[in-house]
Symmetry: C2
C-alpha cells in the first residue's frame, strides 16, 4: 500500500476513534468525571457530537471503552512477556502465565500491575473513574463488571490451576484468595500510603502464599 494513499473510511474511523479515546481520557483526568461531557470530548477530538453518539450511547460507555483500550495498551507496554494475547483483543483478554511456579507467575503479573498503576498516562484518568465509581454506585457497578471482574477472572483461573497442581490449599476459595494478592496493591495506590514498587509486589506474594504465621 502506497504511504500517501488517501485514507479509506475505515481508517478514518480508526483515527476518529483513537482521537475520541484520547480526548475522553485527557478530559476526565483534567476535570474529573462529572465535568467531562460528550460535547467536550467531541470538541477536543475534532469530531462532531453525532459521531460519538453514533458509536456510544453515553459518556460512561465512551469512557469505559477508552479505558479498556488504555489498559490493554499499558499492559502490553509494561510487560509484554506477561501477556500472551493480541492487544487488539482488549484489556481483559490477556491471561496470567502458568509456568508451573505459582509464586514466580504471580510476581510477574503483580509487578506488571505495579508498572501499569505507576504509568503517568493511566494515573489521572484511572483515579478519576475510580473516585466517581466510589460515590456513584451505578457507575461503580459498571466499572467492576466491565473492567475489574474480567481481570479477577484471570486470577481465579490461574489459582484453580495451582490448586489442581497442589500449589494452593485445597480448601482455599480462589475468588477470595486473589483479594489478598491484588487488594494491597490497589490500597497502596489509591490511598498513596507508601511507595508501590516491585519489591512490595514480591513481598505480598511471599506473605500471601507462605502465610504470616510461622511455619513449623
Amino acid at each position: 500500500m502506497a504511504p500517501h494513499k488517501a485514507p479509506d473510511s475505515s481508517r478514518r474511523s480508526d483515527r476518529s476513534r483513537r482521537a475520541i479515546y484520547d480526548a475522553a481520557l485527557a478530559l476526565v483526568g483534567e476535570s474529573g468525571y462529572r465535568r467531562t461531557t460528550i460535547e467536550g470530548i467531541a470538541a477536543r477530538a475534532g469530531v462532531g457530537k453525532q459521531t460519538i453518539y453514533r458509536w456510544w450511547p453515553s459518556k460512561a460507555a465512551v469512557l469505559m471503552e477508552a479505558f479498556l483500550d488504555l489498559a490493554a495498551r499499558a499492559a502490553e507496554e509494561a510487560a509484554p512477556q506477561a501477556h500472551g494475547a493480541d492487544p487488539q483483543d482488549g484489556g481483559a483478554e490477556y491471561g496470567i502465565p502458568d509456568t508451573g511456579d505459582l509464586a514466580a507467575d504471580l510476581k510477574l503479573v503483580l509487578r506488571a500491575t505495579v508498572d501499569e498503576l505507576n504509568d503517568p498516562l493511566m494515573e489521572a484518568p484511572t483515579r478519576a473513574l475510580t473516585a466517581e465509581g466510589i460515590v456513584d454506585a451505578k457507575l461503580g457497578a459498571e466499572f467492576v463488571e466491565k473492567l475489574l471482574d474480567p481481570q479477577l477472572a484471570l486470577y481465579v483461573t490461574r489459582l484453580r490451576a495451582a490448586q489442581e497442581a497442589g500449589q494452593l490449599r485445597p480448601d482455599a476459595d480462589p475468588r477470595i484468595a486473589l483479594e489478598l494478592l491484588i487488594a494491597p496493591l490497589t490500597h497502596r495506590w489509591l490511598l498513596r500510603t507508601l511507595p508501590l514498587t516491585h519489591a512490595y509486589a514480591d513481598t505480598i506474594v511471599d506473605y500471601a502464599l507462605g502465610g504470616l504465621a510461622p511455619r513449623s
Copy 2:
C-alpha cells in the same frame, strides 16, 4: 445539677460543635466534598460562619475532625468490647486487644471494621472523603496522616507483640503484613465487588495467617 438549668458557654460550645460535625458529614455525604462549603455547613448547623472559622482553619479541617469523631462513635457502637479506651479520646486511641490468640483478636477487630464500613451513617461521608482523597493528593495525604495512619499503627503494635510471642513469622514486616488484613476489606467496600461480611473477615484472617500455599 437541675435538669432545666440554663446551659453554660462550654455546654453551648459542645452543642454547636456537635451540630457542625453533623452538618458537615450530612452535606459531604449528600453533595460530595467539592460542593460542601463552610457557608453551607454554618447554615445547616444554625451557627454563624465566624464560629466555624474561629475553631477550624479550613473545610478540610472541619471534615477531618468530624470524621475522627464519627469513627470513634461508630467503633464504640459496633463493638465496644473490641476497644478499651474512652471514646472521648478520639477515634485513633483505642487499641487492638491482646488475648494471646492473634487470630481471634484480629477477627474481632476486622469484624468490627466490617460493621463500621456497613454502618449507613458512615457510608456516604466516608465514600465522599475517600473519593476526593483519591483525586486530590493533598487532601489524600491529610486523610492518611490524620485518619488512616493512626489506625494502622495499632495493627503494627499488635503484630509486633505477636511476633515477640512467636505467633508471627520473625522475618515479616508488620507494616506490610497488616495490608494483607485490611486492604481486602477496603477493596471490597470501596469497589463494592462482593458483600462485606463477618465470614469474609474471618476468612481473610485465616488465609493471611495460614497462607495460601498448602502446609505440609
